[in-house]
């Protein structure tokens, strides 16, 4: 906990591993050939619309939001799996967005990703040895004679048996496949891993196994995670800090405990109170949201949340709220939360 205290300001550089600054990812279909032929003007999708984040070394930042809010796009843009439109991603002092192909390839040894769907993210025609060993071979970090030994070690680290190496993905259950995905991400001994909904495709009892594995690995290997999920209890369990995303913007960030016990942004409050609790503790005064997430093609002007916000005022429709830091460590973008 004391470590979290030190890092909330995010200024002390020896603690900061990843600094995302005003990152933007727009998908533009306005100038396509198809548009010219059909006369369809196309659209501009503001998937990630100016996001700034700080992740401290050895910590987990949980990124939460509804589907379509841009959280996966953000995770991928940070790794440059999707090329960001603008903004910067500083990883350990290096701006990742400015790297050329060779340096980016080297940088990828240090930053990896675990994908959401363990059924779609493993090549069905390759053996587990190939799937996990490919990165080792491509990056030239292990001699081909050593690869088998490395894969054996990795499989043991994630709780699989070495003789699983010769099998194919279809011979494994969902939970085991996700372990393979984790082993693949760990192969290059990275410092930072983007976990993109790693447990949402799994059953409850298996989900707990994988969360525990990720938590253990983080401690043993000193990893830093960006943990993307729509499940608040999972995020709450694994994260040190939480960032709440809505339609391409971060609306609130702060230490896990503060976000969960005393959220300030109306959207965070609504999100938290919508979670059904096993102990029945959540049934009290539920902040109800009406309607659906608006489209990121033509997001609402001003505060993007004003169309669903139970407390929206005129000001909210006109001006986009700035982020401001509150006393309890939360940073909130809302006109109604002034912090005084």
């Amino acid at each position: 906990m004391n470590k979290a205290m030190k890092c909330t300001a995010g200024t002390a550089d020896q603690y900061v591993l990843l600094q995302v600054n005003n990152l933007v990812k727009h998908y533009d279909s306005r100038s396509g050939l198809w548009g010219k032929i059909t006369g369809n003007p196309g659209s501009l999708v503001l998937a990630v619309d100016g996001v700034s984040l700080t992740i401290n070394r050895g910590e987990t930042l949980g990124l939460i939001g509804e589907s379509g809010c841009g959280k996966s796009t953000l995770g991928r843009a940070i790794l440059r799996l999707h090329e960001p439109t603008s903004g910067s991603v500083t990883f350990d002092g290096t701006d990742v967005t400015k790297l050329d192909a060779d340096s980016l390839k080297k940088m990828r040894r240090r930053m990896q990703i675990i994908f959401q769907d363990p059924y779609a993210s493993l090549n069905p025609r390759k053996t587990i040895e190939d799937i996990i060993g490919t990165a080792l071979r491509l990056q030239g970090v292990a001699k081909s004679s050593d690869i088998r030994g490395c894969v054996t070690q990795l499989l043991e680290n994630v709780g699989l048996k070495p003789d699983h190496m010769t099998r194919f993905p279809h011979q494994f259950s969902g939970g085991q496949r996700q372990r393979i995905g984790i082993a693949r991400a760990l192969a290059l001994n990275p410092e930072f891993i983007v976990c993109d909904e790693p447990v949402s495709a799994l059953d409850v009892s298996i989900q707990a196994q994988v969360i525990q594995l990720l938590d253990d690995l983080k401690r043993e290997l000193g990893l830093t995670y960006l943990f993307i999920s729509h499940d608040i209890s999972v995020i709450g369990y694994i994260s040190d800090h939480i960032a709440v995303m809505y339609l391409g913007d971060i609306v609130e960030t702060g230490p896990t405990k503060q976000i969960l016990t005393d959220p300030q942004h109306p959207y965070t409050q609504a999100l938290l109170s919508a979670v059904p609790r096993v102990d029945g503790s959540g049934t009290g005064d539920r902040v109800k949201l009406t309607g659906d997430l608006p489209s990121p093609i033509n997001p609402p002007k001003g505060c993007k949340f004003h169309t669903r916000c139970p407390y929206a005022k005129d000001e909210c429709q006109l001006k986009k709220p700035e982020h401001h830091e509150l006393k309890n460590g939360l940073t909130v973008a809302c006109h109604l939360v002034t912090g005084n």
Partner: protein
């Protein structure tokens, strides 16, 4: 227990499938009663047989599957072995089911208005007269149903196709179709699994509201214990084709008796107490092919004994609770 007769009574249901790998007993001796006006939650992980149980109730089990034994009674009427013709007059009118995954369950080539109207024209005897008259009447009812599930401007939206609606709205459309004839029992199969939490809350509260206004019974099939805890009166926990524990929601979740239910509850991070470490259940759900007669959970259980290799029957442990375990202890934490 009151004198009231259960609206749905499943007893000792066996549903099997012949596959090329062997005989799969997807549902093995499931018994469950649903009282009028009650909301019963059925929880279990994938492959636990919860969907197949209710596909059996709806008469939707087709070869290579068949119902191998047991009985399903709806208001005293036996459904197992009933003719397809009789089933057709029952389904949609008295028992309705919303299918998992609203994103694919609606027909993409037909307008949603038509899909709701279809049910009404097939079942509702109050809609009568000339063809034009019937359609006009049915249309009015469709608008009423769409208003009930809170679709904005239903008069224009009934001519839209499913892809023009969001996920939450499509799920509400499915509910509108299911409720069109005011059934006495609604079976909702994972109604919110594909939805975000804020939309999930909207849909579940809608189902609860309608249940109370129409006085119908609801069976909520889900894998989310939180959903059960908040919305269901009673719960049945399924594991590998069997109900392994059932009873009033509060007492089952507060003091689970079966080691599997206990393990399941320990696997979920508790938002109110995040310092409490989760404890996963080790191992995996067994294959349902060529099962041994003993307890299905034996391979993953911490407290197993030799006697667990024998067939374990459902036992009554008082206060309306039953458990399929030879040594149900109190709350082992």
């Amino acid at each position: 227990m009151t004198e009231a007769q259960p609206i749905l009574s499943i007893s000792n249901l066996q549903t099997r499938f012949a596959t090329r790998y062997g005989l799969v007993t997807a549902v093995d001796g499931v018994s469950l009663d649903v009282m009028p006006g009650e909301c019963v939650g059925v929880v279990g992980e994938s492959g636990s047989g919860k969907s197949v149980t209710f596909a059996s109730v709806m008469g939707l089990i087709k070869p290579p599957g068949w119902i191998d034994g047991g009985s399903i009674k709806f208001e005293g009427q036996e459904l197992v072995g009933m003719s397809e013709r009789s089933y057709r007059s029952l389904r949609g009118k008295y028992i309705a089911m919303t299918m998992q995954d609203a994103l694919t369950a609606l027909n993409p080539a037909l307008t949603v208005g038509f899909q709701i109207m279809e049910v009404l024209l097939a079942h509702d005897s109050q809609i009568s007269g000339s063809a034009r008259n019937r359609i006009r009447e049915a249309r009015a009812r469709v608008i009423e149903m769409m208003m009930l599930v809170r679709i904005p401007s239903p008069e224009t939206r009934l001519n839209d196709y499913p892809h023009q609606f969001s996920g939450g709205m499509r799920q509400r459309m499915m509910i509108a179709i299911a409720l069109a004839c005011r059934p006495k029992l609604l079976i909702a199969d994972e109604p919110t699994t594909a939805l975000d939490v804020t939309i999930q809350a909207q849909v579940l509260e809608l189902i609860t509201d309608i249940r109370q206004t129409l006085g119908m019974s609801v069976i909520l099939i889900t894998h989310d214990l939180g959903v059960v805890a908040e919305y269901c009166d009673r719960v049945a926990v399924m594991y590998a084709g069997q109900v392994i524990e059932s009873g009033p929601t509060k007492s089952v979740i507060g003091q689970p008796s079966h080691p599997y239910t206990q393990g399941l509850l320990r696997s979920i991070p508790n938002l109110a107490n995040l310092d409490k470490r989760i404890r996963p259940i080790e191992g995996q759900v067994p294959e349902l092919i060529d099962l041994t007669p003993g307890c299905r959970f034996i391979g993953r259980c911490d407290v197993r004994e030799v006697a667990c290799t024998q067939r374990v029957e459902m036992r009554n442990i008082g206060q309306g609770r039953t458990v399929r375990c030879i040594q149900p202890k109190g709350n082992v934490q």
